[in-house]
Amino acid sequence: MSTAAEERSARAPWVLTAPALMLFVGVLLIPLAMTVMLSFHDWGQYKGIEPVFILKNWREIATDPYYAEMFGRTFRIAILTTLLTAVLGAPEAYILNRMSGRWKSFFLLIILGPLLISVVARTLGWALLFGGNNGLVNKLLMSFGLIRSPIPFMFTETGMVVALAHVMMPFMVLSVWAALQRLDPQIENAALSLGARPMTIVRRIIMPQIMPGVLSGAIIVFSLSASAFATPAIIGGRRLKVAATLAYDEFLNTLDWPLGAAVATLLLAALVLIVVGSNALIERRYAEVFR
């Protein structure tokens, strides 16, 4: 037998979450479902959107090599950005973690702060630094003798990767940082007392333990880079399209909404598959760390 009080406490969580649930079903799930539906509709220059069920858009994406090239570029940029942030961000997080209290929080603020500064402003900064063949970055690299002739950064994938890596770097540092907090500093001393050299300690003690942090950071960076819009649009210009900028073009310039919806649906599906899949892989591989 249940008392009135018990019944009320069984109902309470649903009463409390009902408004938010209704909001999410009404304004998130329904619009998303409508977008998937839209990708099966027909469109013509003069007739507009026709609510029929056809595979035209999906067939176009599957057969036209333009889309293969564009998705290839999108994921190539995302992978390179992820590698760059991992290779530079993980050591930086390690160095930060070894600093003393005041410097640690100061530099953490400097490195993580940009996360909250407008992406448009940050990318604009890179556009200024790249600025043609005699931009500041090229001048610096040449004066240090690192390169002979200027590297084109604006309107190239190289420039997009550099700027995106800067935008995404805080996520990687943060993720590795979180993994480092779980690490017992005494283990390092123990290895040292047993005669391990610094490089051996990093390779055999530190690396295996922060790997889950690097990998979960990589998933975040990858999925955000693959769907990035502002940076590819500003650095890549009008010709070098990625998935997000192409969808934008279809929606606001060409006005072929069904095709744009198909591109967006495919991007969402690919990302969900990759993120869920690699999360499962990481959790199985590092089950003992997450326990």
């Binding site: 649903w14 409390l16 979450t17 408004p19 938010a20 649930l21 999410f24 304004v27 998130l28 619009p31 998303l32 409508m34 977008t35 930086e92 160095i95 070894r98 600093m99 929080s105 530099f107 603020l109 400097i110 490195i111 993580l112 702060g113 940009p114 996360l115 909250l116 500064i117 407008s118 992406v119 448009v120 402003a121 604009l124 900064g125 890179w126 556009a127 200024l128 630094l129 931009g135 500041l136 800067h166 996520f171 943060l174 993720s175 979180a178 390092e188 040292l192 999925s223 955000l224 693959a226 500003i234 969808a247 929606f251 606001l252 919806a261 967006a264 991007l267 969402l268 990302l271 993120v275």
Partner: protein
């Protein structure tokens, strides 16, 4: 623990310089007296900050952004606070699924959200309206509002509430006089983080904004697409200054590492 060696410190110095350089460059160029982009710049002038006054669309966009951020973060909290209390206190079937649904806007690319909302609000006859922008922003800032409120609700001492109940408080009074004051730091930080997210969003908003409801990032983006000149750098410098102020307040009030640690989980 061992100290950092000289090589590590050199790496660290270069890393920090590269992280700060683009933001610094924007702020430096904003003070150029020249009529074109020049780097390095010589001289110092507020010319381009004064020029902003001649572009009412930037000023209007600023007010749109400010109102949109403040309002949508507030509305998000109206929904998020009860939901956070339910998730923090009750174990019920569907609890994990609900939490995942409420955090899902973090995982869905903003391009996809922009497209979905554009389609939805256009068919509802609300395309380009300020109301549509508010609803869309409520959804994208909801996870941030929920997370910080949830952290506060989980850390709350329930015995205080029980004491109030034993003294005869209940319902609305209990919430207003006991529960809300106790979780208020989390709620305010949630509002601030939600505000920053809304204030900075470009990718989703660029699909929804129409002339008149353009936000500052959208206005800046559309301007940069046509030409990059010192004007956008002075506008950017203002945006950076506003965000920095909010950041420092957030750090003093709540601790930036805690706020950002919540953000780092985006992909999980």
């Amino acid at each position: 623990m061992r100290r950092n060696g000289p090589l590590a410190l050199i790496f660290h110095t270069i890393f920090v310089i590269v992280m700060v350089a683009p933001i610094l460059v924007v702020c430096l160029v904003a003070f150029t007296p020249e009529g074109y982009l020049s780097l390095p710049t010589n001289g110092f002038s507020l010319r381009w900050f004064r020029t902003i006054a001649n572009y009412p669309e930037f000023i209007h966009a600023f007010w749109v952004s400010l109102g949109l951020g403040a309002l949508s973060s507030f509305v998000a909290l109206l929904f998020a606070v009860p939901a956070a209390l339910a998730i923090a206190r009750y174990r019920f079937r569907g609890r994990d699924a609900l939490a995942a649904l409420f955090l899902s806007p973090l995982m869905i690319p903003h391009v996809v959200l922009g497209i979905a909302f554009l389609r939805f609000f256009t068919s509802a006859g609300m395309g380009g309206s300020f109301a549509a922008l508010i609803i869309a922003h409520v959804i994208i800032v909801f996870p941030f509002a929920l997370r910080l409120t949830l952290a506060a609700a989980i850390g709350m001492d329930l015995s205080v509430e029980m004491a109030a109940v034993s003294l005869g408080a209940g319902g609305w009074t209990l919430f207003r006089r006991v529960t809300l004051p106790l979780i208020l730091p989390g709620v305010i930080s949630g509002w601030a983080l939600a505000f920053i997210q809304s204030f900075d969003d470009l990718t989703m908003t660029v699909f929804l904004a129409a002339p008149g409801t353009e936000t500052l990032p959208v206005r800046m983006f559309l301007y940069i697409q046509d030409n990059i000149d010192p004007l956008v750098t002075s506008v950017s410098a203002c945006v950076i200054a506003i965000t920095m102020t909010a950041l420092i307040l957030l750090d003093r009030f709540y601790g930036l590492d805690r706020v950002l640690a919540g953000k780092g989980d985006t992909g999980r």
